[in-house]
Amino acid sequence: MKRVLLSVTATILGLVALLGYKTHGQVTTASSGLPSASLPGGSSTTAPADPGSTSSVAPPDPTASTTTASSPTAASGSVVSGSAASTFTGAAESTPYGVVQVRITVVGKTITNVAFAQLTAFDDRSQRINSGAAPILLQETLSAQSANIDSVSGASYTSQGYQQSLQSALDQAGI
């Protein structure tokens, strides 16, 4: 299990790095506020766990041309003509705080995109600032519906669900 997680971690590392510099500064993943790769900004998270269907998610970066996530009708495991990319959706994993489901796009044996099919603990609608008795750290963000953040500190409780779902997707892809 440890070695699997390590390879998963390395894959994520390489993947995020790949996306990061390929897009030459365009904010693809982290602008949606997740500490890992590629959450399509503003996406609906009502996608069912059925890997055969996808919500109409699209990465915010239009230059991520090898992904199939931009096609609302792309089914898990299908091949999109012209790019020879396949998508695989991992099992939806429950964490104490929500459901995590990961979808990967593969070209050959290379993962070219990772997206969250579901991440209910962190979808934009629930990501509001607790404005109870909280001191104001940044005045312009407390009143915002969406915090528009680059990364999150202290959120590692979603990691386990993410890794399990990602491993599920990797198994399907045969990587």
Partner: protein, 237 residues
């Protein structure tokens, strides 16, 4: 260990070689320092199978820094906190800080490295725009307790939210610690990470202690929902 690391490298970006080097570094840190691997250097050192002189210099560096931190934190940070040798409270932040430095050495000007919720930022998210790091609310999962904005900034959070996935017993946590979470913010992640760990362990003593550390900012969230910040945290850019 299972920590998820992410690298967010923005324009002008760097060559793939620099990224590969960071990936290799993080693997090496895990192989050397993982207490979950019986044959890691740190595990073998802890069992007395190795002498410190037989370990890579980074191991000595970490252990020496742990000793210093034990003094700096009035004993609340210790590499022997659980009985066996475990410098993990320093290693993760240190590894991420080093990764960030490696990216800079490779020519990156703007990047953000996150490892399991510990974050080291360099430069800007976009021209003229600071990085914005959300702080997970330990009492309201899925929500943020605040957002830290900064350029060359490190953010580490210690507390029940961070450990919730492993120790799912919020009632016990609340009985043994008055704090739900501590977020520490300063320039460099290695010490920030260790300070967050120590501050959480300190419980009610944390505010006075962190206030005594110039240049360190903190947000403390108590189990009963009260919050405290260092005096000039809100002006922290």
């Amino acid at each position: 260990m299972g920590t998820v690391f992410s690298l967010d490298v923005r324009a002008p970006g760097i060559d793939h070689t620099g990224i590969d080097a960071v990936v290799a570094w993080l693997h090496w840190v895990d192989e050397t320092f993982s207490t979950y691997q019986a044959d890691s250097q740190i595990s073998r050192l802890g069992r007395g199978e190795l002498a410190i002189g037989q370990c890579p210099p980074e191991v000595r560096e970490i252990l020496e820094r742990c000793n210093e931190l034990e003094t700096e934190t009035d004993g609340y940070f210790s590499a022997y906190a659980g009985g066996a040798l475990d410098p993990s409270g320093l290693v993760k932040g240190w590894a991420i800080q080093r990764a960030s430095e490696m990216l800079a050495a490779a020519g990156s000007i703007n990047h953000c490295v996150n490892g399991g919720g510990d974050v080291q930022c360099t430069g800007s998210a976009a021209p003229g725009t600071p990085w914005r790091i959300g702080i997970a609310d330990p009492l309201s999962p899925g929500e943020l307790a605040g957002v830290v904005a900064g350029h060359d900034v490190a953010v580490a959070t210690s507390g029940s939210a961070e450990r919730g996935a492993h120790i799912i017993d919020p009632h016990t946590e609340m009985r043994t610690n008055a704090l739900a979470g501590v977020t520490v913010v300063a320039a460099q992640l290695a010490t920030v990470d260790a300070y967050a760990t120590a501050a959480f362990a300190m419980g009610g003593r944390a505010p006075a202690w962190i206030e005594s550390k110039p240049g360190y900012h903190a947000l403390i969230i108590y189990a009963d929902g009260r919050r405290w910040t260092t005096p000039n945290f809100m002006a922290h850019q």
